[in-house]
Symmetry: C2
Subunit: 137 residues, 2 copies
Amino acid sequence: MKEILKEKGYKATPARLAILKIFAKSKAPLTAENVHKELKRNKKNKDINEATVYRTLSLLEEGKILTKVDFRKESAFFELNQEHHHHITCLKCDTVEDFQSTAIEKVLRGIARNSSKFINIKDHSLELFGLCKNCVA
Amino acid sequence: MKEILKEKGYKATPARLAILKIFAKSKAPLTAENVHKELKRNKKNKDINEATVYRTLSLLEEGKILTKVDFRKESAFFELNQEHHHHITCLKCDTVEDFQSTAIEKVLRGIARNSSKFINIKDHSLELFGLCKNCVA
DNA sequence: TTTACTGCAAACCATTTGCAAGCAT
DNA sequence: ATGCTTGCAAATGGTTTGCAGTAAA
């Protein structure tokens, strides 16, 4: 964990380690508020400031340790930077399911190739929204 | 134009008509600020308030006359609700190109079908980001 | 007339920032 | 010792809202 930070030239502070640990434990993307609340549940980390959380999230995103996820919410979500994948999220309960699709990546490459105005496609966002089995019931 | 508003039970006020006209003329999605600035360029609409613009955008979105577009920007973009499509946007100059892909829609239906947690996929967002020919040069 | 709409200014909420103190290296 | 980090509080920027006046139906 410390290694990851030092590799990027970031100091391994208690706040950063605690925040990374929270992401390591979480199966779903988290907001700054999620992280801050989780920190407060632990006596050791209770005093880590909201501003520090935001600064840490930006730093880790910049260092490609975290990735920003674009749900249609007011606040930004982050997750550990892992293999390229997408999410399906429940409109009612916010359950998240990950998925990958080589078929989609392939189609997207074709679209990039056929574009009249663009040469260089760097990235894309793809998120599905629906109702999970529990919430449809 | 008035018809569209009255159909939904909305009053056809000058502000709403002016805002709709701006969207009808624009080829790219617009922010509230874009719209407000465009209104100010016309003597007749110069005094339409920012708050009215926001209220109108929400109303038109709710009435499915406008659709919100999720670029990775601080502010929200809207466009006239048209045939389902996606965008490629330039990371440098914000040029927008639209595209459609039955192949993608098909793959997404398959993914929805294979999901373990979800039964009902309502919607998805898909945006590509890259560099347009001008900005690569 | 009646109810929806608008302008204005204040409020909001997520996020950012300046500064002085504190800590990792 | 040095400069990156942090806490705190204030500022920011996009967006929303209460209220009293105005206009569409």
